[in-house]
Subunit: 599 residues, 2 copies
């Protein structure tokens, strides 16, 4: 039921019992995705995971991407892996049939994406980065760009990238300086540098298409003067591919994800780099941000995929490794017990299970909102859209931050063995860390959540979220065994809401620095509340399913849901006490701290 990296039974529980993914068949676009089709999709994803991804996870780290003679060499298993994903239709899966896609709902697709990322995020990322880039062209590019680039990208022959970061512009995209000069043929001459470009150059594809942010000569300063371009490594010219003056200066030596190259690119050093405008001039950031929710949810999925694989490695070890005896048994003549018998090891495993399955539930919930926001009825659409907007910073950051903790806990379960490369945990530990940096650091998401999302449309998103949570609390309260948990969450949510209103008041009274100073802690608080909601929801459903289930395995599955939900309420929800207290202080401590005193 559980293979080495993902718990399929859990995915089916979330899709069929919690979210009613099959219900999306009521919309014409997804009419084909009945329960059987969904399960077939999961199985197809698993096959690729088992054959093309998971077996190469460790190798891709040991035999990492390297830069040599001006070229980026990647692991030989990467090309077939990308092709397998492309051939299976996964790169274009959510697109319309007309565009070469499969009209797969996001809810189903993201469950499959989780399978790929859990199996080997370093390989799968190449393909799904291409997906995002192709999607930008498809959505904003003209017919010609579409015809030239998209089919090759969907086929996995050409890599797509997102080329945003520059040496002087990381989190601050408004400070981008890469230049684009209009040319008589309608193209632009690009010049500048981009750093940390994932998939930016490598030999497992025949071409690389950079979806690149640059400034058209004479454009307004800041965010309002940034445009989006497609900049190929080789440009098609007269039926041939011609080098486009995009030179890889080197690749970055990363602590983890060593198989997933991050390149440093020099564009237009010979004045011969052509870029093609995608969408409207000066609307580059807006175009990019339309895809950002998707990319951020995907980053959450990547993080929790890694934490998932780490959890099942730790769980396997805990079920096999004898060590020590119970504190009340000092008789060394008796055999040692399996470490899963120790309360502290159970605590560590439940923590991982709570983080992993709680995060997956939230990510699929967001994916479901993404579906409703796209295909739903008009009134559903707006609600789903705003809920997705509000939850995205959490869906990105919670799996990243808590996934890091979960993998660290997995390592702790193995002790010294976990720190050594006989087991994969040490790689998971290195790999997952970057997810708190990708697609906006956690601090940036805290500012986004509190500074923008909570206030969105006069707080309507927040009101709706509280309604959703309240509905789950009510359904759980009706179940005897869950009543105390429902009430614990209800009390926390009441306090959370009060604290949120206090912060909003502060936003109106003082400059934004003040109420945003502890935005990262607010994000953490928000995350715990939201994951509690997802656990309570799962617990309510599992209670019903448990009654009707037969067989030890099924009972253990639902019993596991109940115990883990309780774990989350008992061990994680209580952490909001300290966060709430902190967020209600008005001391401006960090804001006013003189940098010279931080020494």
């Amino acid at each position: 039921m559980i293979n080495q990296y993902i718990h399929f039974r859990n995915l089916r529980f979330l899709l069929h019992e919690v979210l009613d993914a099959e219900g999306l068949t009521r919309f014409e676009k997804h009419a084909a995705y009945d329960r059987e089709a969904i399960d077939m999709s999961l199985d197809a994803a698993r096959q690729i995971g088992d054959i093309h991804l998971f077996p190469h996870y460790r190798e891709m780290d040991k035999d990492k991407a390297r830069f040599q003679d001006g070229e980026v060499w990647v692991h030989p298993t990467l090309r077939p892996a990308i092709k397998a994903l492309a051939d299976g239709g996964w790169i274009a899966a959510t697109d319309d049939f007309a565009a070469g896609g499969q009209q797969m709902p996001w809810t189903v697709f993201n469950a499959c994406l989780l399978i790929f990322y859990a199996a080997n995020g370093n390989a799968a990322s190449y393909a799904f980065l291409t997906r995002g880039a192709a999607n930008l062209i498809r959505t904003f590019g003209d017919e010609n760009l579409n015809r030239t680039f998209v089919p090759k990208m969907y086929a996995g022959d050409w890599q797509g990238t997102m080329a945003l970061t520059e040496p002087q512009a990381g989190s601050s995209l408004s400070d981008i300086t890469t230049a684009a000069e209009p040319q008589p043929d309608g193209s632009y001459r690009i010049s500048g540098q981009k750093i940390y470009i994932s998939g930016g150059d490598h030999r497992a594809v025949d071409n690389v298409i950079h979806l690149l942010l640059a400034r058209i000569k004479g454009a307004p300063e800041g965010a309002r003067g940034i445009s989006l371009f497609a900049v190929p490594k080789f440009r098609p010219e007269g039926g041939e591919l011609v080098a486009n003056d995009v030179v890889t200066a080197g690749i970055f030596g990363k602590m983890g994800q060593k198989g997933y190259v991050a390149a440093h690119l020099m564009l237009g050093e010979k004045n011969d780099c052509k870029g093609y405008l995608v969408g409207q001039p000066h609307k580059g950031l807006a175009h990019m941000f339309l895809m950002m929710n998707e990319a951020r949810v995907a980053t959450g999925i990547m993080a929790i995929g890694t934490a998932s694989a780490a959890y099942y490695a730790a769980l396997k070890y805990a079920n096999e490794r004898p060590q020590g005896r119970h504190p009340s048994n000092k008789d060394v003549a008796q055999p040692q017990v399996l470490i899963i018998e120790h309360a502290d090891v159970k605590r560590m495993l439940l923590f991982q299970k709570a983080v992993v399955e709680g995060s997956i539930a939230l990510l699929l919930q967001c994916s479901y909102y993404a579906d409703l926001a796209t295909v739903g009825l008009p009134e559903e659409k707006q609600r789903a859209h705003l809920l997705l907007e509000l939850l995205t910073p959490v869906a990105k950051s919670y799996p990243a931050e808590m996934g890091i903790q979960a993998v660290s806990t997995a390592m702790q379960c193995l002790g010294g063995a976990g720190y050594c490369d006989d087991f994969p945990i040490e790689q998971f530990y290195r790999d997952i860390r970057v997810n708190a940096i990708y697609e906006g650091t956690t601090g940036i998401h805290g500012m986004d959540l509190l500074g923008r999302k909570v206030l969105l449309e006069d707080g309507k998103a927040m009101t709706w979220l509280l309604e959703e949570i309240k509905a789950v609390i009510e359904s759980a309260r009706a179940i005897d065994d869950l009543r105390d948990m429902a009430e614990a969450l209800e009390n926390t949510v009441r306090q959370f809401h009060k604290t949120t209103l206090g912060l909003i008041r502060l936003a109106m009274e003082d400059k934004p620095e003040v109420f945003l100073a502890d935005a990262t802690l607010y994000l953490e608080y928000f995350g715990i509340v939201v994951i509690s909601w997802q656990w309570l929801k799962q617990a309510a459903i599992a209670t019903g399913s448990l009654k009707n289930s037969t067989g030890e395995e099924e009972k253990a599955f639902y019993g596991g849901k109940l115990i883990t939900a309780r774990y989350f309420i008992e061990y994680e929800l209580v952490k909001t006490k300290g966060l709430d207290e902190r967020l209600n202080r008005r001391d401006r401590l960090t804001l006013d701290a003189d940098p010279a005193f931080i020494n």
Copy 2:
């Protein structure tokens, strides 16, 4: 004032203003260690750090220890580094003059150890591991063993190790099976395997002496049948060194500390491995544990040394890197601000400073207790000894666990750059992780703290600790600016004490599994209380010193102490709310969880 890895001004503050290390001159043993001598010791340590350790930290990782042709190759800078530490008298520093030492107080020595570990823990560890091993021989070994091994070890020519762990006996030392058979010549024939033996074999020394736990044939089962042996790689025989049938099967591929070898040893495969009994038969664990406090405090120092170096790397970056603007300033024509100007970055830096300097304060406090426990007046001795016993699990685990978080936060300050090997943070991140596993995992220390130490001598240690904390609260309460902080800690300590008593009651009512189930959380709670105590103590002293200080740099130093103390109370102490709530539940959640439900 701050070099790249340690804040010397802070060490002088702690030694001279907070702890009155010079006051130890009142004891004859340490009569030579007046303020000048202490400062000279720190300077001497810094010189070795600057010349022999810090410059090679990164190289030792890149050009890591490797096993080839049956030998362990280490970085060529290691031999001179070990020799420099030996020649400077550092390996024997705390020993008596008569034994070749310098009679250095632990308080001073551990401050210097911190310098070495912050500069390059991977190199310095070899020397101080030898120290611990030599010390066991010196304390428990007979005259002959002393003469044969100790001088060579103190000279840095021979490596010492602690050989405890076996494949089937990690945390559970009672299950050790390595055998020792008495021989006619008084030695023992050793056979067995040892794993994860740090410094276990390498070419930067001429011999390796393993202080090894084994079972004499016919010994009682369990902990009471374990003896301590000195087992050399080459045994001196007739004026020559003869191979002693200790074979290195391989070394472990560690995620970090790659320059600090961990070996897998096979002993007596040819039936020719001789060991020499150290101390009494069957008292091996007791002998080993007499040195354990020292080794555990040293592990805390190693951890926080790494976190210290990471903090100063992050601080430097934050003071040099411009990025973004304040939320109230949307004018992109204005230059970007240094990231240290952002409240969230200040929060991240203050967190690191709070963890690093708070941990150092606790570790030196423990070292001071170690001195009093050794040389103090009779009534001081017992008190200091018990306080050290009680605090040791915290002094080991808090710097390890929170140091890991601090280094992760350092990485977050750098964003993508922190994840890449252009900066040293990614190595700190990998290196520090093992400290939560070394010398007893955090879970083991939780059990030690709550299951043994808190109850020690009917809770006398605990009573004395609360007295020490209360004294600091009173001194802080007398200072207007600190009153609120003193009261915050007072309230927390009151609740902490109540919760502790509740757990002790539980220990008497039910089997030990019950009250120990959340021992790891109790350790975390204890750690926050104890570090708050250390911060309040520093704040009270800094308030006085600030009044009498002149010069910007001094004012910034003391001002930094005050702001960081407040940070700890405002952001860290509040975390006890959730921990306290959790520890007062009586749900036996993890204890009763059916392992089959953890799936």
